[in-house]
Symmetry: C2
Subunit: 130 residues, 2 copies
DNA sequence: TACATAGTGTTATATTATAACAATTTAAAT
DNA sequence: ATTTAAATTGTTATAATATAACACTATGTA
C-alpha cells in the first residue's frame, strides 16, 4: 500500500542509484555503477528492475530502454504513465496531469473497450533545446 | 507525400511481409522469413524497418520490439500513434480515434508546452481473451 | 556527364535481456 | 521455535535486439 515498503538489498541499491540520477538510466549503465557494491551480473540488475517497475518505484521508458524513478506520488503501480522526452538532450519528465490521466483511463475504443493500463510518450524539444 | 511512393527492393519485400502478417513481427522473425528472398543480414532488415517507420508505412510497438503495418490512412508519418495490446494473446490493434488524436495533439503540459509527436500504448484484454 | 543521395551487401560487434540451476534469506503460520 | 512457502540472491551461459564501419551499386537530377 505504501511506497515506503521495504526493498531488498539489491533493489534498494539500484533504486537509490536511479533515484539520484537526473537522467533515465540504462540497465548496463546501472550495472557498471553498482559493481562496487557487489552486484556483478546483468540478471541481478534486471531482477531488481523488474520488481521496482512492478511496484511502481520506477518506470521504464520504452522508447529508450531506460529507467527513471517515479516522482508521481499517486502512482502506486506503473499502470498509467506519461512522459515527455526531448529529442535533442534526451531529458525525460514524468507528466502528472489529472485531466490527461482521467481522459486516458476513461478512454473507450470504438468497440467500447476500456483499458486497465497505458503508457504514453510525448516527443518534442524541451525548454533548453528550443 | 503519397504513401504509394516507390519502395526499394528490400523495403518492399519487408513491407509486404509485415503487411500480410496478422501480428506484429519482430526483426529476426522478419529476417528468417525473407532469407529465401536474398536478405541475409540483420542490418538489411533494420535499415528497411527504419525507413518504413520514418515514412509511416509501419509502426514500432515499443513495448514489444515489434512492427506492424500502418492501417490508418491519415498517418503519413509515425508522429501520432496509439495502439491497444492484449496482455494475453498479444494481439495489437492500431487505434484511430479522432477525438483521442485531437486531445493528445493539443495536450499542453504544465509549462504550456505542446509536443510534435507521441506514442500511446494501451494494455488490457481483447474481446476473445476476456 | 557528373554529382549527390539513397540503397545494398558484408563482417564484426555492441547492447539489451532471459534461461536454468542452486543456495540463501525472509516472513508468516503453525 | 519450527516448518513451510515465497522471495531474493548468486552464477554461468546464452538468447534476442540493434548498430558500426567499410566498400560498392543504383537512382535521380542538374
Amino acid at each position: 500500500m505504501d511506497k515506503m515498503q521495504n526493498l531488498s538489498k539489491n533493489q534498494q541499491i539500484i533504486f537509490d542509484l536511479i533515484d539520484k540520477s537526473s537522467e533515465p538510466m540504462k540497465a548496463y549503465s546501472i550495472l557498471h555503477n553498482v559493481q562496487k557494491k557487489g552486484i556483478k551480473a546483468p540478471l541481478q540488475v534486471y531482477r531488481a528492475l523488474d520488481k521496482l517497475v512492478e511496484i511502481g518505484k520506477i518506470h521504464k521508458i520504452e522508447s529508450r530502454n531506460a529507467f527513471i524513478a517515479c516522482h508521481n506520488s499517486s502512482c502506486q503501480v506503473s499502470k498509467a504513465t506519461a512522459f515527455s522526452i526531448c529529442e535533442i538532450c534526451e531529458k525525460v519528465t514524468e507528466i502528472s496531469s489529472a485531466s490527461l490521466s482521467k481522459y486516458l483511463t476513461n478512454f473507450k475504443d470504438k468497440d467500447g473497450m476500456k483499458y486497465s493500463k497505458y503508457n504514453l510518450e510525448f516527443f518534442g524539444l524541451c525548454k533548453k533545446c528550443r
